[in-house]
């Protein structure tokens, strides 16, 4: 695990950049290659690259905001492509931001132990699942209840977010309980 951990910042930075490019391509395709959207995604990619090189989280957040703006422009102009691309853009964008920030966390030659890696991977996986669920809910609502309106759909997304947060909280509490139980089984004593 230690050997893997030493290379992790570079791998995570590469993962972040690749997923960001993937998001940009998806947004450009969804917008019908409009020049404004393409320019915004290019600027965002450049910001992300600069943030990864310099190690500034602010640039990564700015790049994500640029991506969100480009995507909003794309779906606002042509009305979206039936909500399909959101299943790609939403998880990939979050994965890109999270991988970039994690690579910066590990940048000063941090060697993370196995549990630290697993906990991060668990959080990422759980959030990705929640994001895909939110996208599926929106898409199914768009198909089954086309007259539902924006408020209805936003409330649906909010419901999914709250449900995901509740599931995450229960999971965190359970994980903490498990760890404390296992530590008692080992028989560690307090200071």
């Amino acid at each position: 695990m230690r050997g893997v951990a030493t290379a992790t910042p570079h791998r995570l930075a590469a993962l972040s950049f690749v997923t960001a490019v993937f998001v940009a391509a998806s947004v450009v395709v969804a917008s019908g290659a409009q020049p404004a959207v393409a320019s915004a995604t290019l600027v965002s990619i450049a910001l992300l690259g600069a943030g990864l090189v310099i190690g500034l989280p602010v640039l990564v957040v700015a790049a994500a905001l640029g991506m969100v703006g480009a995507y909003s422009g794309a779906v606002g102009v042509d009305g979206g492509s039936g909500g399909l691309e959101v299943l790609v853009v939403a998880p990939a964008l979050w994965c890109s931001v999270e991988a970039a920030l994690r690579s910066m966390d590990l940048r000063p030659a941090v060697t993370a132990d196995g549990a630290a890696h697993l906990s991060w991977v668990g959080v990422v996986a759980a959030v990705l699942v929640g994001t895909v669920a939110a996208g599926l809910v929106v898409r199914s609502l768009g198909e089954s209840a086309p007259g539902g309106g924006l408020t209805f759909r936003l409330l649906s997304v909010g419901g999914v977010v709250v449900a995901a947060a509740a599931v995450a909280l229960v999971g965190i509490r359970r994980a903490q309980a498990d760890r404390s139980r296992s530590s008692r089984a080992v028989g560690s004593a307090g200071p």
Binding site: V89, A134, V157
Partner: protein, 421 residues
């Protein structure tokens, strides 16, 4: 102080911006894009805080010899949940990290977690403390709390060069030791034979000589006695860089001489005459060895223009009949003058010169070459002058064995003693 990280602030900004975009475009897709950011932000706001972590740093051993290993351990007792702890080490100069990482991240929960590092002390000295920057975050890195811990001060004592030779003091005490006395008495070393006198012991009779001379003859022996030695450090000036210089070598020589004389049952003291005056009164045994070693590791060359002499020393720091072994690079006139003064007051003085030539940069042009030659001539004149006063001067080139230098000093002292007779 618990504060939000850049991660959670960024997530909040992205989430709110996406919600605005959703409202402006009247499409739900931007809100879906914001879902993961909003989810994590919500979880962080509602439930996540970094756990309370009590940390304790221990260094073992706190006093060690150069080249030995030291263990640094950090014990973390966590309360109030699970979180991540990042520990960043600030390793001071003089220590080399052998085992463990300079920067490590681990998950802690409600139990004791300990992290250990192994260092090797590569340089002697009063090494500064190891500093640890500990950052505790929750599991998703939303909030963090920082603290800086400092270990105790490490004292790395110089590893003494094992000397075989020794400079015997001329005046010896009546307590047994390792130096041959010029007087006759109980001992191992044969001195002479003489006619039997009343009071001589039968076991001293030399039967072979007695049989040849037809009368009783006995052997005289020379007893082994100990002496008093004061190691005199000239720390007025140093030549070299911060890693290796004449001061470091001076201290190493002083440590080696102290160790050798202590093992010979001598009483050893220390006088450090330089920018800061320090002394250790003569004593014997292992405790005295460590006392002197601890004083030596704190030796530094302080720039001082004060005209210091040996007059400021207390009388008990320099016993009347002690041997003064001066360890000096002979580059400061005040140090040389102090040696002359000691000799003029009747002290038995020997000088080990730590030659500074190896620490000088090569002469680049004719002018500096000329200056170097003049400087060498001046040093040679100082050396000659000291020898004329009956002071043995041995020149030691750092990196070479010290034994031949001590032998040369012994030969000179013997010659001076014979000529005095």
């Amino acid at each position: 102080m618990i504060r939000p990280t850049a991660r959670v602030v960024g997530f909040a900004i992205i989430g709110v911006a996406a919600l605005f975009a959703s409202a402006i475009t009247r499409r739900p897709e931007p809100a879906v894009v914001a879902a993961p950011f909003l989810t994590l932000g919500l979880v962080a706001m509602v439930a996540l805080r970094p756990p309370q972590v009590a940390a304790a740093v221990a260094v073992e051993p706190a006093r060690l010899l150069q080249g030995e290993q030291v263990r640094l351990s950090l014990t973390l007792a966590t309360r109030g949940g699970t979180g991540r702890v990042r520990v960043e080490l600030d390793v001071p100069a003089g220590l080399r990290l052998d085992e463990g990482e300079r920067c490590t991240e681990l998950v802690v929960s409600t139990r004791l977690t300990s992290v250990t590092w192994m260092f090797t002390a590569v340089e002697w000295g009063a090494t500064r403390s190891v500093r640890l920057q500990v950052t505790v975050t929750d599991l998703i890195g939303a909030y963090e709390q920082r603290a800086e811990l400092t270990s105790g001060v490490l004292r790395v004592l110089p590893r003494e060069e094992r000397l075989r030779g020794i400079i015997p003091p001329r005046a010896l005490r009546s307590i047994s030791g390792a130096h041959l006395s010029r007087q006759r008495g109980d001992g191992i070393e044969f001195a002479d034979t003489r006619e039997f006198a009343a009071g001589d012991r039968a076991r001293d009779v030399n039967w072979r000589v007695s049989a040849r001379r037809q009368e009783l003859w006995v052997d005289d022996r020379r007893p082994e006695r100990s002496g008093e030695v004061v190691v005199f450090l000239d720390t007025f000036a140093t030549v070299g860089d911060t890693i290796d210089n004449t001061l470091r070598r001076t201290v190493e020589v002083a440590a080696a001489i102290t160790d050798r004389h202590i093992s010979a049952n001598d009483r050893v003291g220390l006088v450090d005459l330089g920018g800061v005056l320090r002394w250790v009164r003569p004593g014997g045994g292992t405790v005295q060895l460590y006392r002197i070693a601890e004083t030596l590791v704190e030796t530094e060359a302080w720039a001082s223009g004060a005209d210091k002499t040996v007059d400021v020393l207390p009388a008990r720091a320099l016993p009347r009949r002690c041997l003064v072994v001066a360890v000096t690079p002979l580059i400061d006139a005040r140090g040389v003058e102090a040696i002359r003064t000691l000799r003029a007051r009747g002290f038995d003085v020997a000088v080990i010169e730590v030659a500074p030539q190896g620490f000088l940069s090569p002469q680049s042009d004719a002018r500096s070459e000329l200056a170097h030659r003049l400087w060498e001539l001046e040093r040679h004149a100082v050396r000659t002058d000291l020898r004329h006063q009956g002071i043995a001067v041995g020149e030691w080139l750092p990196g070479e064995p010290l034994g031949p230098v001590l032998d040369a000093i012994g030969v000179f002292r013997t010659a001076v003693l014979r000529s005095a007779r």
